[in-house]
């Protein structure tokens, strides 16, 4: 009986939390399916309207920006490339950095690691001018490489992988050594498959991090062709339902990534082997 009551209470609390998070999004979504006129006169809507296809296709394909050079679809593409690039590169660099720090007899490995970790205190916003100067001297302004490279090494991801590698028993490496593995095949055959869940978690974190970038793409791009979704949000003046439709669509890419990697992501975060 007590079990039943406590489970009911748990679910009640969870449901309230869920509602608090879902309802605003639902209202935005429902409102985005009405015409602007209707919303301006009747306020926010809780029920679906019948302008869904009309609103969303208008927003997706409308030429926008100061010079009307970019569509929302292109912005999604740009954001996706940038976020994916940052996520993939961060995973690769931090996997390898952690491998080097843990498995090779690097002198002062701990000090080097903490130096890497300290870079967390220097976020992109703080080093935005020097980063911009470097990128512009490399002629990477208005390129995807310029958008991606300066944020493609993550101290926190290196930290995660390092802690994970440290938890792998030495015997595994020794057994693999006797089985004739070298440092490269140990990385490929053992560390990467073993850290699969961790890779998924880091990938999601870095994808969302990259997707949410605002200041850096704002500075790095002068051509509207490289605008990202987050930059686009501020240019979405005009009708209120268009803005709502854009907001709803801007949430889709991260949500898709999380849905696909969810299982691995949760295992990766709660891993305590």
């Amino acid at each position: 009986m007590i079990k039943y009551i406590s489970s009911t209470i748990n679910h009640l609390i969870l449901s309230i939390g869920l509602l608090i998070m879902i309802v605003p999004i639902w209202i935005i979504f429902a409102s985005s399916t009405h015409s602007s006129l209707f919303i301006n006169t009747n306020g926010l809507q809780f029920f679906l309207g019948d302008n869904f296809i009309e609103n969303y296709s208008r927003v997706l394909f409308k030429q926008s920006g100061f010079f009307n050079e970019i569509t929302a679809l292109k912005m999604f593409f740009n954001s996706f490339v940038m976020a994916t690039g940052i996520a993939i590169l961060s995973v690769i660099t931090s996997l390898m950095a952690a491998y080097g720090l843990v498995y090779f007899k690097v002198k002062y490995a701990t000090i080097i690691f903490w130096l890497i970790f300290i870079t967390l205190l220097v976020p992109l916003e703080l080093r935005i001018m020097p980063s911009y100067i470097v990128m512009s001297k490399l002629n990477l302004v208005n390129t995807f490489a310029g958008l991606i490279l300066p944020i493609s090494a993550s101290a926190i991801a290196t930290f995660f992988f390092r802690q994970f590698y440290k938890s792998i028993p030495d015997e595994l490496l020794e057994a693999a050594k006797l089985d004739g593995t070298n440092s490269w095949s140990f990385f490929i055959d053992f560390l990467i498959p073993l850290s699969k869940t961790m890779i998924a978690a880091v990938f999601i974190f870095m994808f969302v991090f990259g997707y949410n970038q605002y200041l850096w793409p704002l500075i790095m791009t002068t051509s509207e062709q490289y605008w990202t979704v987050v930059m686009g949000l501020k240019t979405m003046y005009g009708s209120i339902s268009d803005r709502f439709a854009f907001v709803i669509m801007s949430m889709i890419p991260p949500v898709i990534i999380i849905i696909f990697l969810q299982k691995l992501f949760i295992q990766g975060i709660f891993q305590n082997k």
Binding site: P169, E171, L172, E174, A175, A176, K177, L178, D179, G180, T181, S185, D189, F190, P193, L194, K196
Partner: protein
């Protein structure tokens, strides 16, 4: 020339600890040798140096006529079974066993045949597609052994592989390891701190203490003629009784008990050892003691008693009717005693 030769092997860790000190040992082809000693005595370090997982500070190891000091572990052609099995958690049983073969560039077909043969031999052929996390302790143990066997190495190294199993499974696996080793005739070194394992498995036993080899010999030699006081205490269960005593003209003085050793030794500080089952209890024995405690073990019982202030135990058949508090008479035959000099612990 022996198959495996260790010459004056020394291991000093960077922090200055001397784990192994000037150890020399020859092991013949096909022999089953057990390294036994208390934990921290350097037996695992010695094994790991043979495997190539630990640098050698001093000395030389040669295998099959070649010095292997600086040869990479993977090229030494040795296989090791680890204490925690060290199975590859993300690979199936088949891949666990095949991985070493793949790295040696063996063809897929041959790998298949070899793995299947070994799996049949170890009765794990039903488990080949499973991951290690889905196996029981005993099954993991078999896979770990399969991984070693499938490579057909020159030497098997076992690093306390049975210590994680429950008692029943341990006995079973012990027999199996012995049987497999006989069947395949591969030179094997087995490290353990369990003297029963050492006695039952080894063709020869190497007793190690504090990084030094105390004695090398067949189980029988080690048991019946321990070279040092340490070996005497370490091998045998229940432990050998060691009485501190003074020897004058071949007569041992233990409290008010006198034992004629039939020699002319004179030692001020000696230990007289006698195994609990070598104490002969009879109604017309020379010595009398009171049984302080009786432990009943089924077929046997162990009696704890004292001579002067020195405790000792004797093991006898539980058919004899003796209870705590009773007095009993016994003899100590001078052919069954072991005499050690306490100044250096060596046998006299």
């Amino acid at each position: 020339m022996s198959f495996l030769e260790l010459q004056n092997i020394t291991k000093i860790y960077p922090n200055g600890t001397k784990a192994v000190n000037e150890t020399s040992l020859n092991i013949d082809n096909g022999e089953f040798v057990v390294f036994v000693g208390p934990s921290g005595c350097g037996k695992s370090t010695l094994l790991r140096m043979i495997a190539g997982l630990e640098d050698i500070t001093n000395g030389e190891i040669s295998l099959d006529g070649n010095v292997i000091n600086n040869i990479d572990p993977s090229e030494r052609d040795v296989a090791m079974v680890f204490q925690n099995y060290a199975l590859y958690p993300h690979m199936s049983v088949f891949n666990n066993m095949a991985y070493g073969l793949k790295n040696r560039g063996i063809s897929k077909e041959e790998i298949n045949n070899k793995v299947n043969d070994v799996a049949k031999l170890l009765e794990i052929d039903q488990l080949l597609t499973r991951k290690p996390s889905m196996l029981s302790g005993g099954q993991r143990q078999r896979v770990a052994m399969g991984r070693a066997i499938v490579r057909n190495p020159k030497i098997f190294l076992f690093d306390e592989p049975l210590s994680n199993l429950d008692a029943k499974l341990r006995n079973q696996m012990r027999l199996e390891i012995k049987r497999l080793q006989r069947q395949m005739g591969v030179t094997s070194i087995f490290v353990t701190h369990d003297q029963t394992e050492a006695m039952t498995l080894g063709d020869r036993i190497v007793v190690i203490n504090n990084g030094v080899v105390e004695q090398v010999g067949t189980p029988k030699e080690i048991y019946s003629k321990p070279n040092t006081k340490f070996v005497a205490e370490f091998i045998g269960s229940p432990q050998m009784n060691l009485f501190n005593c003074k020897i004058e003209n071949g007569i041992a003085h233990i409290a008010d008990m006198r034992i004629n050793l039939n020699n002319s030794a004179n030692i001020d500080d000696a230990s007289l050892g006698i195994r609990p089952d070598d104490i002969l209890i009879s109604d017309n024995g020379q010595h009398t003691c009171v049984a302080n405690l009786v432990e009943y073990l089924g077929s046997d019982m162990i009696i704890y008693s004292k001579i002067g202030d020195q405790e000792f135990s004797c093991k006898l058949s539980s058919k004899i009717n003796l209870n705590a508090g009773d007095t009993f008479k016994f003899d100590i035959s001078n052919t069954l005693v072991h005499l050690f000099d306490n100044t250096n612990g060596s046998r006299v």
